[in-house]
Each structure stands twice: as C-alpha cells, then as structure tokens.
Amino acid sequence: MATMIVNGREIEINGEKNILEVIRKAGIDLPTFCYHSELSVYGACRMCMVEDDKGRLYAACVQPPAAGMKIYTNTERLLHHRRMILELILSNHNRDCTTCEKNGSCRLQELALRLGIRDVRFTQKKTAGSVDVGPALVHDQSKCILCGDCVRMCDEIQGVGVLGFAYRGSQMTVVPAFGKKMSEVACVNCGQCAAVCPTGALTVKSDVDRVWTALHDKSKKVVVQVAPAVRVAFSEAFDQEPGTIGTGQLVAALRRIGFDRVYDTCFTADLTVQEEYHEFAERLRTDGHLPLFTSCCPAWVKFAEQFYPEYLDNISTCRSPQGMFGAIAKAYLPKELDVAREDLYVVSIMPCTAKKFEAQRHELGQNGVLDVDAVLTTQEIAQMVREANLNFDKLPAEAFDLPFGMATGAGMIFGVTGGVAEAVLRTAARAVDGKTPPVEFKAVRGLESLKEAAIKLGDQEIKVAVVHGLSQAKALIEAIKKGECSYHLVEVMACPGGCVGGGGQPLPNNAEHRELRAQGLYNIDQQRELRCSDDNPMIERLYRQYLGQPGSEKAEELLHTTYASRRRISGEEVAVEPAKDAKTKIRVCVGTSCYLKGAYDVLKSFQESIKECACSEEFDLGATFCLEHCNGGPNVQINDEYFGEMTPSKARELVQKLAVERD
C-alpha cells in the first residue's frame, strides 16, 4: 500500500481524494471553513495549507495524495499564517458572539479558541447591519465569511441556486440575485445552507418565543407533535452520540416545559400511508397521473411548484404528516380536550426548516386560521429544554399521549430517505396478500443518490424510485421527461439522507451523523411489534369513528390539499392575429431577452407576411412571454417546433414556405 509522511509519521493512502482526508485520517484535525466532502472543492479559506519538505505550500483540500509525499502541517510559518488569516476574518466579522444564534456551535468561534487568538489588531469592519428574516431562515451578512458553502450547497446538492456571490474583492457578498430577500426568490426553505454555514450568517428562524407565549397563555391548550427524525437527533444537542434514541426523554421534557398533550407525527405518517396508498391504487386502476410523487417534503413540493409545475398533477394530494396532524388536531381535539377551536394551539417539532413555510400555506387551514400554529426545529426545542433548565440526564423516559401517540414502524421510517416508499410498499404488499407480514425493502434504503425497487402487486410490477437532494430529483425528472426511465412511484426528499439530515437538526449535520440517525430510526422500526401502517389500531379507530375510509369526503377535506404553479412567468399568451381553426399556431416570444433582441420586429414581420399571402385563416398568430430559450432568442414556436435567432426576413420566408406547403 502506498504511503505518505505526515509530520514525520507514515500514513497509508487508501483512495483518499486529497491529502486533507489523509491528514485527518492520521488524527490531525486540520481546520477548514470551506471543505465539505459532499460539495465541490472550493479551496478558498486557505486554513488547510500544508508545507512539503521543499518548502512548497499546498492547499490540502485540493492536492491529491502521492506516494512518498512528505507533508508538515504545523511549521512555524503555517501556524503564523493560519493565525493571521483567522485574525483577518475576525476583524471583518460582526463579533457579537455572546448574543449570536450560533454561540457555542460556531466554527469560527471554535477555531479562534483553538488557535488561541487573543488580540485582533485591525479595526472592526463589519458591524451589525440589516438582517433578512425569511419564513424559515435568517440571513445576516455581517456574520458571513464568504466561504461559499451555502452557495455550493444550494446549487450543487439542491439544484436551486438562489444564493450567489455579488461584487468583488472586499465588497463581495453572498446574496440572492439582484439583492432580493430570501423570501422573494426560489428558496425552498430546506435550510441546508444553514446546516453548512460555519458562522451565524445563515441560521434557522427561531419561533421559540412565540411558543413560550402560547404556553404561558392560560386560555390556550397547547398540543405538540414530534416528527420521526427528531427523536434520533435531539439528544445530540446534549452531547449524546448521533442516532441515540431520545424519544422518552423528549416527551418527558415537553411535558415539563408545559405542553398539554404530546403526540407523535408518526401517527399521521401511518395515516398518510393509508391515504397515499389508496390514491396510488386508484391511479393505477384508473390510469391516472403516474408516476405518483410523494408529497411529505415541503421543500420538494415548493421546488416542483416553481420548476416543474407540469408535474403538479403527479404529486400526491396527501398533505404531509405535519399537515394531516394539524387538520385532525384542529378538527378532533377541541371536543376531546374541551377547548374552543381557536384556543387550541398546535406546535410541531420538526427536523425541518421548510415545515415552517409549509405551516403558513393557506391551503393548510380553515377560514384563514392555520392548522399548525408554530413549528420548532430540533435545534429550537433543544434550546427550549436548556432555557427551561431541564437536566437532560435526569429526564425519565415517558410515553406519548393517546390517541395520536401510537405509531407503527412504518410511520417511524418516514424520517429517512426511502422510508415513505418502504412504508407504502409494506401496505401495498399487504393489500395483495392480506397475510404477508411486513417486509423490509432494503433496496430503497441507504444513502445512494438514486435507489430503485420493483415489486409485484398481483400481476403488475410496480417500479419505485427514491431520490434525496433536489438536484437528484431534478436529474430524475429530466430523465423521466426524456423517456430514459419510468416509474410508478417516486419518493423525493429534499435533504440529503431524508429528514434525518433536515436543515433544523443539531449541528454538525454531516453525512456521518445522518447515517447514524437513519440507523437509529431503523432500530426503532425493528423493535416495533407493529411495522405496517395498516396495523395501527388508532388509525383504524380514527377511520371508524371519524373519517370513514381512505379517500372519503371527510378524508379529502382534512387530509388532502392542492398545489399551484409558482412560476415567475405565467406563460399567458396574447392573441395578435387569432384564427380559430388555424392549422398553424405561431407564438413569438416577447419576453425581455427576446424583446431586446428584436422580437417585436419579428412579430410585425409575421403579421405583415400573413396578411400579404392572404392566408390569415391558416395562421393563428400570438405573442407569448418567455419560451425559456433566452440565449438563442428571438424565439418562435410554430406548432411544436422551436425556432431560435429569428429575424424579420426569416419570419417572412417561413410564412411563405408554410403557405406554399398548405397550398
């Protein structure tokens, strides 16, 4: 095996991409701000620079290892330079550490401590400025150290790309395009930017105070639901190993904080399986819109509404488990808890930042009153536990309240990529053969970007795909569009690893932690007596007493929802020379880019040449906004064919040619 020498010690090279990985393997935690193994190498923070035996310097994150390489990580000049870099960052960083959201979990703070920076010689540049508070995330430029982690995360993993660099040199900032607010752009609120941000520049918007207010309001009954992925990450905030199951302690803590009832979102996950399987079976039977995309992930739903509105009919109409819980709680609990509907306050504890946005969707409420009143992330509930001065180690394990506290293993695995698909497949397998015990579908498990499975339902083979990370979803949809693959059911989770890797989970939120949390959920599932949603007696009771059966009118009203295109450009058309029975439909793009390249002249030329050839009944001429081929404009669509770089004379030729063809 090839080896290299790190600080005089021989270290094996075992397929590492760069010397940083080799060095870290050797037990040297070389500091970095901009290196994340799942993102592209950026090489900008220069903290991981190392020196070789000839005095040459390398960025360890960039340099591939080579046999015999001799590397030193702590030479005099490296230590000196590293401290200087840190000092320079600190002098250009709003150092309100004691009141910062990231106090205690900030990478910059940690390295300043580790490198022993005691004096910053330079004048303070960045001071507190305006902060962009979105529905789920808070963006504070004064804390940004421009490592670009958020930019690459949003673009490379999530395929959204709302964050970018603007200006140059010391003026450089990270902002959405045109300096817009996060809430005004295509941000899906997944929170992965905040998960990789080393400082307090991107943080989760805190709703802790709102919840305390509700808890202290004597007229309110406050109930809480806990999402599956929270229970395997919550204890990390109290120095436990990732994946430690902390359900009992969390329930106990919530009661001590003052919640009136503590319920389990896994219950409504079981309910989701019932509704979604029913919907899926109906679509299979009636040749409805397939593939059916899952709808549990609100970041994915917003992503689809923005970028793939043509697939909205393919998304399951089922509300997410959070949404279902909110609706059921607001409908069912007032009577049960003897409280007026408006005095029932529903809180969700989620691994997810996008759930904060989802809870504000007007579709998930009645008469302007939202079903879920406040959403707290795992990070925030850990904060509340600390604020309530609860000693985690002394918390007993307690159980959820009934009836919404009972869940099967199928509901538990909703929190990990592949879990929703597996839960539905368990129910599907049961539906075919009523006696089949719940089975594990290992093919949909794991952290590979795309997982596929096929199961036989009667005489039909059902093809399932599972993706996580929205850029993977994008790639899959593009492949489906091109006809390169086809599926019946597609599970999409925005965050890498599914909800266990959600943007609201405790930090660090890296691949290693996500994998251990996923394992935690599978462990819970394995320990369960009931592992198929069909077997949840409380679900059965809910249908019997209240909802009827899956897909009933009542279920439709409470458990299903609608989606709407969020496309910036509506695609509306303007009739110019309409002709009702025309065989040729001509649409000239007059969007900004095409307009600037002369689309109006093209339109005019079409109009004139149609008149000239006296065949206006043959052509239906209209203008449209943005055919989305801006680079090659002006663009024209004739029936289903696109023509770029159109000129007035080419337009004339086209009309003449088409007119001749008609004759």
Partner: protein
C-alpha cells in the same frame, strides 16, 4: 474571394499583392492605433485625403490590383500602432520613410506639397530630442527606435491591419501554410519547444511544454484560448498587436490548434479594447473568406474555428482559470489546481492558454524555423519582449527589445533618460504585482531568469520609471489600491489581506502610521504571498515587499518623522514663511482657503500648521517667494 487551397496559391497571391503595391511610389501611413486616434489621427487622415485629391489621386490596393497608375497616385492607409504614442498623431511617408509627429489636419497641405510632390522633408514636423534642436527625419534614426528589435511588432505601423491582403503580402500565413504542409502536429510542438519560446504573459513557462501537455492530454475535444485580457494599468502591448496585426494572432492560434489537436479557439479580449475587438472580428471574417480559418484550411483536412469573447472588465480574468470560468459564463473566479488547464480547462476539456504576444511569436517560428528565433535573446530567454515604457522618462511608448537588453539601455537609450534630467530612482516592472528595482539594478538584463534573481518578474511587460520626486510608499499604496479593488474576493488571504495592507499604507501616507504598522504590513504581505489561491494574490504583496526592502528609510521617515522625503505625500507637506523675506503684504492670508495664515500688515505672517490643509495656494500667491515647502 475564392478560398486559397494550397501553399502555392498563397505564395502567388502574396506576389500579386506585392506587385500591385509596388506600382505606386508614394504611400502615406497614418497611425490609427488607439493613442493616435485619441489624438485626432482620423481627422489627419481625412485632411490628407483631401489634400492628395487636390493635385493627384488616392489609390488603394483594390484599385492597384486592377489598374495601372499615373505618377500622381498616392496610396493612403491607416496603420496599427507605431509605439511612439506620446508624439501622436504619427504619419509615415514612404518611400522616404519620413516620420512626422504631432501632425494636425492643417499640416496636410504642406505634407503633400513638400513631401509627396516635392520629395522634401517637412522639418518642423519631424522628431527633435527634448532639450536639443536635432531633427530626425526618418523613423529608424530616432534613438527611441534604434535599440529596439521589432519582430513581433514588425507589421504594426507598416500596414493596414484591416486588410488581410497586406498581411499576406508581408509573408502572412506562410508560417501556417508551412506548418500544415511540412509539419506533423507533433513536429510542430517540437519546433516550438526547440525555439525556446516562453509564455510572454508573465510567468515565462516554456510554451512548447504547455503545448505538449495539451497534445498529450486525453480527450476528443480540446480548445485553444488566447488571453487578451491585458489589465495592468498602463500596459498596452497586447492591445497594439491585436489592433495593429490581428492576423498574426489568428495565425499563431491556428498553428497551435493544429499542433495540440484542437478545432476550436477563443480569443478573450477586454471589452475596454473596442478597436481590438473590431479588428479581430474583421480579421476572422477575412481569414475565413480566404480559406485560412474555418473548414479545411488551405485545402487540408484541418479545420479551426475562432470565437471572440469579451471580458467585462475584471483584472482577475487574466488569471487562466478565472478566464476560463468567464468564457463559460460563470463568475470570473480562479479555481484551485490541480487539475491544470491542460487536463481540464474550458468546458472541462484540455485547453491551451497563451497570451497574445506568445501566439504572435509563433508564425515567425514556423516560417523561419526555431533557430532563427532562438538566436535572438539570452541562452534561457529567447526572442524579444514588448514593454510599455511609461513614467518619468523622456520617451514613453510601446517598445520591443531582444531578451537580455539591460534596464539601463531601455531607460536611458530608448527612453532617452529621465524627464527634466532629474535623478533616476526606481523602475516598477511587471504590473501591479511586480516589484520595484533601483539604481543598483540598472544593469540587470530583461529576461525571465535575471529578473527573477533580482526579485522582480517580467509580468506582462509594464515598465514604470520613477524619478526622485516619486514617493515609494505612495507607489506601494497606488498598486495596492489597484489589487485590492481587483481581488475577486474568493480566498481570504487576498480579499482581507490586500484591503488591510491598503488600509495601513493609506495610514502611512496620511502621516498616521507607526513602526508597528511596518511589521504588520510585512507580515500580511508574506502571508498573502504564501497562502493566496491564485497569482493575483500570490504577487499582490510584491510592491510592498520590494519597496520595504529597497526603500525602508522612506517608510521610516513617514512613520517616525512624519516626513515624506520625496515631498509627494500631501499630508506631510509643511509650509513655512521666511520672516526675512516676508514683506507682510497679507496676500497669502487673503488667499488661504482655511484662514490658516495670520499676521499684521508689514510684519512677517505665520502659518498655523494645525489649520493648514497643505494645498500650496499661498506658495503660488506669494510675490516674494517667501513661502517654501519644508520636508
């Protein structure tokens, strides 16, 4: 125009064009480089045209190809840059080779009457050395040109850059023709390797080795990219070549494409060079029409397409990986290497990137052979190098000298010495990230290795000469202001380091620096040098480090004594009224904008240094020279 299908056809065509040009005895070339155009050379051109038409006929190549001419015919053309821009507009009259300087439209009549008709030189329009009355009629006699060796710039100023036929007549595209017919691609690489041509964009990496690496890289699609993003303040070598001899760049790139196995290339030109963009575009179009670019060049199987990409004005885009990102439509930020561009460059494909001047040397090598090239220069730096000579020298402009010419020759022979015969202090070489060399370096030769040994670098070829009145701290501040503005902001050392260095330098020139500042400055400069991601940052500290090394006393005077020895830093100027000379007229006090001067009439006045803003208005107003500046 039918496409040229063979080397014979090309030679024939060249002969035809030469014969046609020879028909006419008199030719006037008006410099239409950016400098001369800015000085009004196009108006001079129009005036000359009118003046010729009064007594004769103006002919052009088109006319000459078809007709016989009378003795009163004159060919009038616009040419590329002749380099002596400070004397523009420049007009050259052939066959006498009279060079006229500072020509105004109203001089046209006289030029035609005297020179074209009379064959005499118009003395008052010729160049005279500053301080003497010696006239130089002909370009080649002028000291500015005498020590130059204009090889890359051979065509600049001697032909119309907008006419491919003139380039062909001057052996243009012969190098390409020879390459395609006599050399295999690998032999072409070997020839360039043998020539010893080194990258003239600054680093001096052997061009042949770069070509070899791209040729050897795996991949179907490869690209050739020309770096024309010349961003150093005051540098215009590449601009002059692109404007004055665009086909030479095209020819060099096409040869490179053939050698490395690329069929497509990009020329990245700054948008601030509109004339270069225009002339390159025209050249591409003409070369395609003549079958010298595009499909099946010269009737061979080799095809090569060229595109022009305009940069949006970022200095960092001259850095190779940032340039590539910019062409791809991304933010112009450098990417850490490895992989190198030769492995993974433009659109992920192996890419050859050389600068304009490097490519412009290739046609000569392929036409005349590697030996003809390598015999010029020093044993390790072959050929010539163009420099933009500016600052406090008598003659400024674009020069080209053989590698190995000494700084002394450049400054005192070509440059004519220091303006107003002041003392030479330093020369800044290599652009904003270059270093300052001093008197003791005057005999350093201009070649890659000597400069490196002297602690400087060739850079792209800026030479800024400074005299005794130049404050070296201010020089460092000026260049740091430039680099910190142009830092892309990606890596922390460069982004934060340059802005802090600037902050300190600003403090020092404002008279508020401390000795600690000098240590911190040095510390940051070394850190930025060692830790930055790209060349911009790695060299950003050079002006600081070299001035600190050679002129530390000047820094110390600023921070210890609050004194600028060169008398250049305004904040440290002090004015005193000599009580002996002062007549107490009060004129200075009346003209002081901040009422810093007071006194009684007929008594000596005094300046309150706390109120004084050091504007110097009092010095100008005093009729008795009683107020002087003290350092």
């Amino acid at each position: 125009m039918a496409k040229i299908r063979s080397i014979e056809e090309l030679n024939q065509l060249a002969a035809t064009y030469r014969k046609a040009t020879d028909k006419v005895a008199k030719r006037i070339l008006v410099c239409a480089g950016t400098g001369c155009v800015a000085n009004g050379s196009l108006l001079v051109y129009d005036a000359l045209k009118k003046a010729v038409e009064k007594s004769g006929v103006v002919v052009d190549l088109d006319f000459l190809l078809e007709n016989e001419v009378q003795s009163n015919a004159t060919q009038l053309d616009k040419s590329g840059c002749r380099g002596f821009c400070q004397l523009g507009p420049l007009v050259l009259v052939e066959p006498h080779d009279f060079m006229y300087v500072h020509v105004r439209p109203e001089d046209a009549e006289e030029i035609i009457q005297e020179t074209i008709i009379g064959g005499r030189c118009v003395d008052r329009l010729t160049y005279t050395t500053p301080g003497s009355e010696k006239h130089f009629d002909r370009e080649e006699d002028i000291p500015f040109y005498q020590k130059q060796h204009r090889q890359t710039l051979s065509n600049c100023g001697h032909m119309n850059p907008e006419d491919i036929r003139e380039y062909i007549a001057r052996d243009g595209y012969k190098g390409l023709a020879r390459t395609l017919t006599e050399f295999k691609p690998e032999q072409t690489v070997e020839e360039v390797l043998a020539s010893g041509l080194r990258g003239l964009g600054g680093a001096g990496f052997p061009a042949g080795r770069k070509w070899q690496a791209v040729r050897d890289a795996a991949g179907q699609t490869k690209y050739v990219v020309c770096n024309g993003d010349e961003g150093d303040p005051g540098a215009f070598m590449d601009r002059s070549i692109m404007e004055g001899d665009p086909h030479k760049v095209l020819e060099g790139m096409t040869i490179a494409g053939y050698a490395v196995g690329a069929t497509e290339g990009y020329i990245y030109v700054r948008a601030e060079y509109p004339l270069a963009v225009e002339r390159l575009s025209k050249a591409i179009q003409e070369a395609e029409e003549f079958g010298l670019l595009g499909e099946n060049i010269l009737g061979t199987d080799f095809s090569f397409q060229l595109h022009i990409n305009q940069g949006a004005g970022a200095f960092v885009c001259g850095e190779s990986s940032a340039l590539v990102a910019s062409i791809e439509g991304k933010r112009g930020m450098p990417v850490p290497r490895p992989p190198r561009l030769a492995q993974r460059g433009l659109f992920g494909c192996p890419t050859l990137l050389n600068n304009v001047e490097t490519f412009a040397n290739v046609p000569f090598i392929m036409r005349k052979g590697a030996k003809a090239f390598s015999c010029i220069g020093t044993p390790t730096s072959h050929g010539t190098k163009a420099f933009a000579l500016t600052g406090n020298v008598k003659n400024t402009g674009l020069i080209e000298v053989p590698m190995g010419t000494t700084l002394r020759e450049v400054i005192f022979d070509i440059g004519g010495g220091i303006k107003d015969d002041r003392e030479f202090k330093a020369v800044q070489i290599g652009g904003p990230s270059g270093a300052c060399l001093t008197k003791e370096h005057l005999d350093v030769t201009l070649d890659f290795d000597s400069l490196k040994r002297a602690g400087a670098m060739m850079g792209s070829g800026g030479l800024v000469v400074m005299d005794e009145r130049t404050c070296m701290v201010e020089v460092a501040r000026f260049f740091m202001d430039f680099t910190q503005r142009e830092s892309c902001g990606k890596c922390i050392p460069c982004r934060e380091g340059t802005s802090r260095m600037l902050e300190i330098l600003e403090r020092i020139v404002a008279g508020e620096g401390t000795e600690d500042d000098l240590n911190t400055l040095e510390e940051i400069a070394y850190m930025v040098h060692d830790m930055s991601l790209c060349g911009l940052g790695q060299t950003a500290g050079n002006p600081v480090l070299s001035t600190l090394k050679h002129f530390r006393d000047e820094y110390l005077a600023h921070v210890r004594d609050k004194r600028c020895p060169a008398g250049a830093c305004r904040a440290m100027r002090h004015f005193e009224i000599d009580p002996e000379t002062c007549r107490g007229c009060g004129r200075c006090a009346r003209n002081c904008p901040v009422d810093a001067i007071s006194g009684e009439i007929k008594q000596p006045f005094i300046i309150d240094p706390d109120k004084c803003i050091r504007c110097g208005a009092c010095v100008e107003q005093c009729a008795f020279q009683a107020i002087r500046e003290v350092n």
